[in-house]
């Protein structure tokens, strides 16, 4: 197993946010994390990335307990695509991507021509070579997320954590992002955990799904089996069901919307 979470209890104050969470994700698997706001998705991500120390239990990534590793060792195992990014200074997009190589450099080193070449290759893979010299803060939300994805790829860790990478993206860019992530996971045999608001994206792109509710795992398993009416209702609330469109595509839709004309 590439990522293994064992009996994890974690939180910020007296009340734990996560209780007794266990999950396992194998190599080459794109795993979606679904749950309502405040269900503990981001907290789980922070525990896996060893930013939050668990109260109980442990997280094992590629056979190593992450809490016992130094930051640069964690960074060689796990890369992160955050929800949104902002830079107070006018870095170019290539500068931002090159930061992904920090863990491979000694503290006094800086990226040279070799690093720039391989960062450029990653830009090609993600299809953003045209943006490389543009100041990061001049990019649109969707372009920024692609740059952050490129940075995580350039970091070249076996495990990727994506924390709601779609939250600032329009409909088409959400699918572009998910398509890219899916392709990367399969072609480079990475392990990816991704938190998603839209169960449809999980349904269409993820191999496995973990559903969280109030800090506990409701169910986890193969996407097809897990995303059904009962589990969806348990995790997301009553107003949700699974349906099939006329063209045969499985979708998750609300049971009823008010004032349908």
């Amino acid at each position: 197993m590439s990522v293994q979470v064992e009996k994890l209890t974690a939180g910020y104050g007296e009340e734990p946010v996560l209780m007794d969470v266990a999950l396992a994700v194998r190599e080459g698997c794109l795993c979606g994390l679904i749950g309502r706001n405040g269900s503990g998705k981001t907290t789980l991500m922070r525990c896996i990335n060893a930013i939050l120390k668990p109260l109980q239990g442990r997280v094992i990534v590629s056979g190593k307990e992450v809490n016992k590793l130094s930051r640069d060792k964690v960074a060689r195992l796990i890369s992160v695509v955050p929800q949104g990014s902002y830079s107070p200074f006018p870095f170019s997009s290539l500068d931002m991507i090159l930061m992904g190589g920090t863990a491979r450099l000694r503290s006094w080193q800086s990226p040279g021509d070799n690093e720039k070449d391989s960062a450029w290759k990653v830009c090609k893979d993600v299809g953003i070579t045209a943006l490389a010299s543009t100041p990061f803060n001049h990019l649109s939300g969707g372009q920024k997320q692609l740059v952050m994805l490129a940075r995580a790829l350039y970091q070249d860790a076996p495990v990727m954590l994506l924390d709601e990478p779609n939250s600032h993206l329009d409909f088409c860019n959400q699918h572009r992002m998910m398509g890219l992530v899916h392709e990367i996971v399969k072609s480079k045999n990475k392990t990816a955990l991704i938190t998603l608001h839209d169960p449809n994206l999980a349904l269409h792109y993820c191999d496995e799904v973990v559903m969280l509710k109030e800090g506990r795992v409701v169910v986890s398993g193969i996407t097809e089996d897990v995303i059904n009416g009962d589990y969806l209702e348990m995790a997301l609330g009553e107003n949700v069901k699974r349906d099939t469109t006329m063209s045969g595509l499985t979708v998750v839709v609300p049971k009823n919307v008010p004032a349908q004309r």
């Binding site: 930051r71 830079s87 006018p90 170019s92 803060n137």
Partner: protein, 342 residues
């Protein structure tokens, strides 16, 4: 064109150096400056004998003062660039953690009460400048929130306390002697500089500049959101402490030697960013050169524009503040370029 822009700081530096060396109450041309330097380096045989008064003015008064203004300008500008990166704030200045307030309080305390101590005004200023930042750091470290914004707030707290202490000392100071000294000191001046001060400040600034240049690229990571920096593999708390210690030593030794100097640490990083871009690998050396040049020019103005000495902070504010205003208005300015949203 691009390479000219990149080398511009060095070109301006050399021109300003010779300009400043030749200016003063005892004027000498650039040729005489070169002759004096050559004679001192054992080439007297070729350039001829130089007059002793000229040598005295040049080597004992002008040269140490010029070296000091370059060192102080570089030191506080570098601290500015570091604090702007650490606090992710283009408006952060070197005194954000209380180093200036602590230094001024220490100097005033020494002028009024500790006159018999061997530490002297400058020693006392240095000790209190370091103490102020240490207190700010300890307070922030005891908070459950280890983010840099807590450090900024505790810096504000410490600054306020030392400011109040300074005000109290000034209130009780004997107006004609002590108060005048304190006021002149808080506005900063290079007129008292001798080789003794150069020997304590210059090595610290040179060592700090080297360290910051070597570990310059890493400052890029420190400008990222704290969790992002951790995910990239940087132990944020450890490295923040490193950068704060190096910058504080440079600023404290500068403030202790010549008093507080406003604006330089805030505006020079912006001008440097405008010239070489945001990547700290190039930004750090460019800031050091530009900061040294800027304060050298400002001090040359301060000592030559009128018969009596003008406090340096007045000159830096008169030239520095309008320039920042101009940067705010210009489209390519260091401030707006970082904040323009899509």
């Amino acid at each position: 064109m691009k390479s000219l822009k990149r080398h511009l700081p060095w070109i301006i530096f050399v021109v300003a150096l010779f300009w400043s060396l030749s200016l003063g109450r005892y004027a000498m041309g650039p040729v005489e400056v070169i002759k004096l330097l050559a004679a001192r380096m054992g080439l007297e045989h070729f350039v001829g004998h130089q007059s002793p008064e000229m040598q005295l003015v040049f080597f004992n008064i002008r040269l140490p003062r010029i070296l000091m203004s370059i060192a102080v300008g570089s030191g506080i500008s570098l601290a500015g660039v570091v604090f702007q990166a650490l606090f992710r704030n283009p408006l952060a200045a070197p005194d954000i953690l209380g180093v200036t307030a602590g230094g001024c309080f220490g100097a005033a305390l020494s002028i009024m009460l500790l006159t018999h101590l061997a530490l002297g005004v400058q020693g006392s200023a240095f000790v209190f400048a370091i103490a102020a930042v240490s207190i700010a750091y300890v307070i922030a470290n005891h908070s459950w929130d280890k983010s840099s914004s807590v450090l900024v707030i505790s810096g504000v707290v410490v600054s306020a306390v030392f400011q109040a202490g300074l005000s109290m000392l000034m209130y009780f100071a004997e107006p004609y002697d002590q108060l005048a000294k304190i006021v002149f000191w808080t506005m900063g001046s290079f007129h008292i500089v001798s080789w003794a001060q150069v020997k304590t400040t210059l090595p610290l600034v040179v060592a700090g500049s080297c360290l910051l240049t070597v570990f310059g690229w890493r400052l890029n990571i420190m400008t990222q959101n704290e969790e992002d920096a951790l995910s990239l593999g940087v132990d944020v708390n450890k490295w923040r402490l490193f950068y704060v210690v190096v910058s504080t030593l440079m600023v404290a030794s500068s403030v202790a030697a010549v008093g507080s100097i406003s604006w330089v640490g805030l505006i020079i990083p912006h001008i440097a960013r405008y010239l070489v871009g945001a990547d700290h690998k190039r930004l750090v050396p460019a800031t050091a050169v530009l900061g040294g040049t800027f304060l050298l020019i400002m001090d040359t103005i301060a000592r030559t524009i009128s018969a009596s000495e003008i406090p340096i902070s007045i000159v830096t504010s008169i030239f520095g503040a309008p320039f920042l205003g101009y940067l705010l208005m210009s489209k390519k300015g260091g401030l707006s370029a970082g904040e323009r949203a899509s």
